[in-house]
Amino acid sequence: MAILEEPWRDTRASDDTPAGQAQRPGQGAGGLGLGSLELLALLVLAALLGRAWIAGLFSTPRMQTLLTVFISICVQAMPFLILGTVLSAAISAFVPARVFTKVLPRSDVLAVPVAGVAGAILPGCECGSVPVAGALVRRGVPTAAALAFLLSSPAINPVVLVSTAVAFPSQPKMVLARAAASLLTATVMGWLWLRLGRPEWFKPQRRPVGEEGGWTTFWASCRHDVSHAGGFLIVGALCAATLSVTVPPRFLQSVASDPALSVVALAVLAVVLSICSEADAFVAASLSQFSLTARLAFLTVGPMIDLKLFAMQAGQFGPRFAVRFAPATFVIAIGCAVAVGAVLL
């Protein structure tokens, strides 16, 4: 036992993190899973020893940009992920299920648009909405309604709508179009789930967390959700960063002039870039070679489905769900954006 602990202590000593508190687990060794901790220590040690070699890998501008974008997405998402996690933990621990049955209409068909509109109350971007939607399902909210909430909340909350207004100062209609297209997509997806969804696709992660409520549930839920959703977030962030430094910029320019192709191209770009929904309006505004409808598709698709969201949804609701839900969301969002664009823009 003492031998097993040595590498851990050594690595901690040579690591320059400010988290000196990490020494604490060593003292409370009673409950330690030494297998995992040992692995952790070895990993940190390997990273330190291999530092020069790894640094060599990341010496080109492309690789450095990749690493910067990767870290940026992770760092930017963390506060919102944690907000979502704490909120979801609080729902799991302290909000009784009957609250939701009272608030939502009894009919599932009506509950979907109501939940979609309710998405406006959760500030922040999409990373937070995934764990919250998970908590809603655990609290007995109908799946279709929780999905409508999941899709609408990152797109129609006030923070996002205000940033859209700022990004498009000369096209105030863009704000309305974005809210309409997003709400429409969320509602259609909810109804689609009511009609076509099968319970065996939807496997919300079963958590090693008691559901009887109270502080124990709260802390266990926080710990689990941050680790779980955070891990999947990192998979998505890595994919997004890799693609964002490899997609050739000329490709975008060549499709901008074709009205149909440009819509699809920007929708794909939204999936690839995985930009936070609070920021995507500014990126859309700078893609000025594209039509407004194409940019609306970018703004509608991005908060609902992108690489990091796909990874997080697969983690939260199961891969069998994600591989069906994501493409459906993608197609419906494009359809709604084009329809709303035709009417409003």
């Binding site: 506060p79 992660q205 967390v209 920021a279």
Partner: protein, 272 residues
């Protein structure tokens, strides 16, 4: 991942968030305004980790017999141990089951290990801000910010402007609010067409993933042979010459440079 290892991972992540917020490293990745949120997030993670470890210690000392033994934790009937086997329902098979032979299983997401990837990358390398490489691949973002009227320039000769401010006044105000004043700006060098250098600055809304370049062309007394990402401070006057950005076709205004010098990159390399 066992519960305590998970707590240590969260402690590392939280500690790293606090560290980069306090040292200013965070400015390479996200906008300035996120600092308090990062500090709070780091604090929450440290708190969650601390509560978890404290629960473990308490559970360990409560257990009968061997307080330091490996089996101590397995006797505590904490919620973490009451879960039925989750393997068949867990998406992506993302759990470690660690049965101790007493019918209890630790089930924590294995994917939590990945949280170490950005954490270690930050602690060991802390890669530089987005620069010329990405600026070269994106169109100038000038079209995004077009306030309709321009306040008179602030005091100063030369007057210090952001590249965004100069470019907006040059393109949308046709330089009228600049007049014949001398302006001073700083940015990084990127290759323009025909080898002539552009001076650029990335504009950030949330994080470096949404960074967009603002580019201006340099003419007149411009030093040659500057490598991309070299930081340069230029003094000059307005000129009506413009380029079209090859990526998105937007206007790139020029500056008639009278003097310039290389500088060290500022702490916050982004404009917002």
């Amino acid at each position: 991942v066992k519960r305590d290892a998970q707590a240590v991972i969260l402690l590392l992540v939280g500690g790293t968030l606090i560290k980069i917020s306090l040292t200013g490293t965070y400015l390479r990745y996200v906008k300035h305004g996120l600092q308090p949120l990062l500090l709070i997030s780091g604090g929450v993670l440290v708190l969650v980790a601390a509560v978890t470890l404290w629960q473990s210690v308490r559970a360990g000392s409560r257990a009968t017999g061997a307080p330091h033994g490996r089996h101590a934790a397995h006797h505590d009937h904490d919620h973490d141990h009451d879960t039925p086997r989750t393997g068949e329902h867990e998406p992506a098979g993302a759990v470690d089951l660690d049965d101790d032979g007493h019918g209890h299983a630790h089930a924590q997401p294995r994917i939590a290990w990945l949280l170490l990837a950005p954490t270690l990358a930050l602690l060991m390398f802390a890669p530089p801000p987005i620069g010329a490489f990405q600026a070269d691949r994106s169109g100038t973002a000038l079209s995004a910010q077009a306030p309709s009227d321009y306040a008179p320039l602030p005091e100063g000769d030369p007057v210090r402007l952001s590249i965004l401010d100069y470019a907006s006044r040059a393109v949308f105000d046709h330089g009228q609010s600049i007049g014949a004043r001398q302006v001073v700006m700083s940015g990084f060098i990127m290759a323009g067409p025909n080898g002539a250098p552009y001076l650029a600055r990335m504009v950030l809304t949330c994080c470096a993933a949404d960074a967009r370049p603002i580019k201006i062309g340099l003419m007149g007394d411009v030093p040659g042979g500057l490598a991309p990402d070299t930081w340069l401070e230029v003094v000059g006057t307005y000129t009506d010459r413009q380029d079209k950005d090859p990526v998105n076709g937007e206007a790139i205004p020029y500056l008639q440079v009278t003097s310039s010098k290389t500088i060290t990159a500022p702490a916050n390399q982004y404009e917002s």
